[in-house]
């Protein structure tokens, strides 16, 4: 045991609820300022229209609605952000389901933080979509006139189901702890008592909870797979666009999402361990295990990526090759190759280190790898969406540059996500109290 103190009580877990230092206030204040800026940017967009972004129609009249090129990209960082957050959301069930279904008690310590991540990520994905709509005031049309021929409706259904399932799952697994908090934090007793909803804490009740949770975990796994598959179908079923119409898009996106999610969980686990000195709870073994899973899905992801690239470069259609050339040799080449080599290559190397022996596992370095990987994955999705739209068959290559307003709005999801997450850890324990019991 290197640092921290031997954890025997629940108090150490409850630090996040009880300890509130200056650093916290500064941090939250900064987030609130950023959020205000985000809200202002969004307000500008709502009153002026999507012209405040850098997105444009496939064909524009060149003199107006700049930039001064004829072709623009109708989708940009909002949609990229949407896919990113959906990807992050795959953390929750990936970990929780493994823990519960395969009885991997060792990883129960990170299960809840993963579930909360999902809980926070899904609304951020929804918000990103709302940012992108030309008429957010007509969003209710989706419910009135929604048509199941459209992949977007599949998205709406799957994501909503996933979200509801996650909330129920989280609540059920949290209930015991809530009840406990009612006793431990008398000042908030009424709040927790309300939330616990007559939880008795009997063995039968606990058993029932576990049963339900087990079945829920089982049911949510296919939902999780469906969610990112249908998100991929938004692109993968489009015959019109180069490099999109591909059979492996579903599994490609799902694996990518799992990489995203697991990396995010690692990042969170490492941050909490560092923040609250939970070395004895979130042990090196736990982190190594997560990084092991991360490494393996990353390998699968890279394998699928290579398969995609090879298919195009070998004998791709002209529209596919045009997009591929644009990425490999054209204006996006610096972004593409930096992403590949630095964004994926370096994390891959870091994650491969433990193969050569346990002592080669470096938690801090792996943390860096997990952050880099998620940034790279954000960029990866961007390179899937935008270059294809900028290279429409029949027209010339276009330009897309996101504006400051657009970036501010997109970043709003990160500030909000952080704020929501912080709100949770201030109200509930981020590690299941069962971990320190018995």
């Amino acid at each position: 045991m290197k640092k921290g103190y031997k954890v025997t009580t629940e108090d150490s877990i409850l630090q996040s609820l009880t300890r509130t230092g200056t650093a916290f206030y500064v941090f939250v204040f900064t987030l609130l300022v950023l959020t205000a800026e985000f809200l202002y940017a969004w307000y500008t967009q709502l009153t002026t229209g999507l012209i405040v972004t850098g997105m444009r129609s496939i064909y524009n009249a060149p003199n107006y609605m700049g930039p001064n090129v004829a072709v623009g990209s109708p989708w940009g960082i909002y949609i990229t952000n949407f896919i990113f957050w959906i990807g992050i959301s795959h953390a929750g069930i990936a970990i929780s389901a493994s823990v519960r279904l395969m009885d991997l008690k060792k990883y129960k310590v990170v299960a809840r933080m993963a579930e909360v991540l999902t809980l926070v990520a899904l609304p951020m994905a929804g918000l990103s979509i709302i940012f992108d709509q030309g008429r957010p005031d007509r969003i209710v049309n989706l419910l009135i006139y929604g048509r199941f021929q459209s992949p977007m409706l599949w998205d709406l259904t799957a994501i909503t189901t996933y979200f509801i399932g996650t909330i129920v799952y989280l609540y059920l697994s949290l209930r015991g702890d809530i009840d406990e908090l009612a006793r431990k934090l008398p000042r908030r007793e009424r709040f927790y008592k309300r939330l616990a909803m007559n939880y008795q804490g009997t063995e039968t009740e606990k058993e029932k909870h576990n049963q339900t949770l087990w079945w829920l975990a089982l049911a949510i796994v296919p939902i999780m797979v469906t969610v990112h598959s249908v998100v991929s179908f938004v692109f993968g079923l489009m015959i019109a666009r180069g490099q999109w119409y591909s059979t492996i898009f579903a599994i490609y996106f799902v694996v990518g999402a799992i990489v995203s999610g697991v990396a995010a969980v690692y990042s969170l686990a490492w941050i909490f361990r560092w923040l609250y000195k939970w070395d004895s709870l979130i042990t090196d073994e736990v982190l190594r295990g997560i990084s092991w899973a991360l490494r393996n899905v990353l390998i699968i992801y890279i394998y699928l990526w290579i398969a995609e690239e090879l298919t195009t470069r070998y004998m791709g259609s002209s529209s596919d090759l045009r997009v591929s050339d644009y990425l490999w040799f054209g204006p996006y080449a610096p972004i593409f190759w930096t992403m590949a080599i630095v964004g994926f290559g370096i994390p891959a190397l870091i994650l491969l280190q433990p193969v050569f022996g346990k002592r080669h596992f470096n938690p801090a370095l792996t943390f860096a790898a997990s952050i880099i990987l998620n940034v790279a994955l954000w960029v990866k999705r961007f390179t899937i969406i935008v270059p294809s739209l900028l290279n429409p068959p029949l027209y010339q290559t276009g330009v897309y540059v996101p504006t400051l307003t657009e970036v501010s709005i997109m970043l709003g999801t990160f500030w909000l996500a952080t704020l929501l997450y912080i709100a949770f850890i201030k109200l509930f324990p981020i590690i299941d109290l069962d971990v320190v019991k018995g």
């Binding site: 009249a61 060149p62 003199n63 107006y64």
Partner: protein
Amino acid sequence: MTSITAADFGNPDFPARICLRGLSQLQYVYHPDRLKYPLQSVGPRGSGQWQQISWEEATTIIANKFAETAQKYGPTSVYIAPYTGSLPVLNGLIGAGYRFASVIGASAGDFEGDNEGDSASPCGSNEVLGNFDGHELSDLRNSRMIILWGNNLAETDIPDMRFVLDAKDGTISSAGETAPNATGPGAKVVAIDPRYTATATLADEWYPIRPGTDGALALSMIYVIINENLHNTSYILNYTVGPFLVRQDTNMFLREKDLAGGTSTKYMVYDANTKSVVPYDQSGTAPALTGSFTAKGISLKPAFQLLTELVNQYPPSTAETITGIAASDIQSLAEEFAARSPAAIKAGFGGISHWYYGDLTYRAMITLSAICGYIGVHGGGVTTYNGALLDAALDLGDWLNPDKLAYTYLPPIQFCTAVLEGKPFQVKAAWFPIDNFVNQQGDSNRTISAMQALDFVVVSDVFMTPTAQYADIVLPVATQYEREDLLAGGNYFLQYMPKIIDPLWESKTDLDMFGEVAQKMGQAKYFDKSPEDYLNLILSGLPSGLTLDTLKSKGVVPLADQDYGTSSFQSITHPYVPYYQQKFPTTSGRIEFYSESLVQYNMPLPLYKEPIEASPTNPLYQKYPLVFISSHTKFRTHTQWDNLPWLQEVIQKPFLEINPTDAQARGINDGDMVTVFNDRGSIQVVARVTNGIRPGVVNSYQGHWNNGAFPTATVNNLTHQKINPAQSVVFLFQSNTAYFDVLVDVKKS
């Protein structure tokens, strides 16, 4: 006004005569930048400082100033310049401005005359055929071959391009007679143009000729045709001056009195039967077309012989060196032209007339058509502008010269000299209605000096044009949709133009404006009638008795139709074909490819001469090795519609078309800002590197207004005002602006 649609001409030959410019007119009428009130300049001329004044004040000032100037320098020191900004009868090119000029004794341009670049071809036509006229373009359907010579019909005369397409597809005319030899589909269409234009894409063959050398090509084609005996001998004998003997001592035609004494000025021919020189109208003769003869010690040659000697200097191999078109191509082009009877030549004002020696070129082209017997037949002819005679046909004498009062003719290109040098007389004040003179006259810097040197300038227009910037008084004009008028021009139809809406803001029609000033100058009686009265006056010249009411009810009437036509060119055939009866208003009554009036300039025949400036033989070429042409774009009509948003959306910015070879040599890439310059001025535009233009030639569309984004882009900063003295033999077309005869160089800005 809420929508626009094509007018119904009541004739299946003329469907959908509308284009993108016509469809954008709502933006013109309701443009936020329209002039609303009369303005008076309150700063130095060109400074852009104005104050609003009333019409009463404005017209009073103008009347006083004009009277004052006329008093000091004579009435012709006031110059009125209505121009092609608007073509209708009362308020346009042939309208109230000229009437006003006549009644106050001022000087003026002329509606039929010098059209700034459009005079060389009419001049040449007058010299050979006696006037300037053209086929109704639906007649192209009767052609088996169409040469689009220096003419980008697909952009500059969009509704008429359909007839070329019909000819290609083999659609025979659905009205009137057809040419006897017109059979089956597929007229061959040839485009001769240094640029690969939209027209060229629809042609069967494209010849990228060196600009300004079209005359050499025509002469070479004549050489091939004569050499291979493909010319129409009987036509030449009967309808041209071919057999007329020319005196080799004076270079004039031999007249009967030269040999026999007396007064008979009959032309003489050499009769092969009797081997003697006889009058041309003697019966039973077999006139010689070639050879040399003597009579009374005078050496004589038939005009055709002289023509042959001229073209012998231009075999295809020689023409290849001059024009850049392969000798074999010239050969086959000529052979096909002669074989595919009838073949038509549709010439452009731009490619042919915007040159110093454009008259020579046009004469050569007419000669080419004549020796094949294609003049005055369906499917043939050399046409630049159809509708040319229409204005004359309307017999506008009483309208433009009431009580026989007349303005003094001063071609616009001579305006600057008149102002700056007082030749041919001093001009001190001017009124520019519907004329963006500063933008469109050659050599803008000289034009601006002239504007600055004037005592008083009035401009009436719809917008604050670059010309209006130099005015002392600016008057807002009502557009053609805000007044009643008649339109004649561009085709052989007479169109009634109803008033659709009332004049917006305080704008007035030309007629009203000139009327108010005239009234203040004591000439009210010439402007005291209503527009309807004047229209009736104009129509009264038609023998058909067409009244305004009939015209109103029909909207459009074919003026070349016997029912409505005038005496001056009552059409005898449909579609309209000039010279159908083979009668030519020349001195000899025949096609004068040999013209006596030009003997004094040593060019009785259509010689080929290198362009006055844009030639590699010019020493200036060492400094400025690129020929600068300024063609017309489909997105404007000269300078009009430059500020219409829809059209701006597509044309974007002013650019210079340049071949990759020339661009590379100067380190210029597509999209770079470049400076085009010569000794007269410069422009700054965006480079458009294209393979669709000959190396050694650059092009920038004319008509752009200098504005914020592109403050120096008016092509006329580079052009000149050189006048060809030989054109003086035709009074109305005595001078021409050779817009394309220009050398420049280009560098990256």
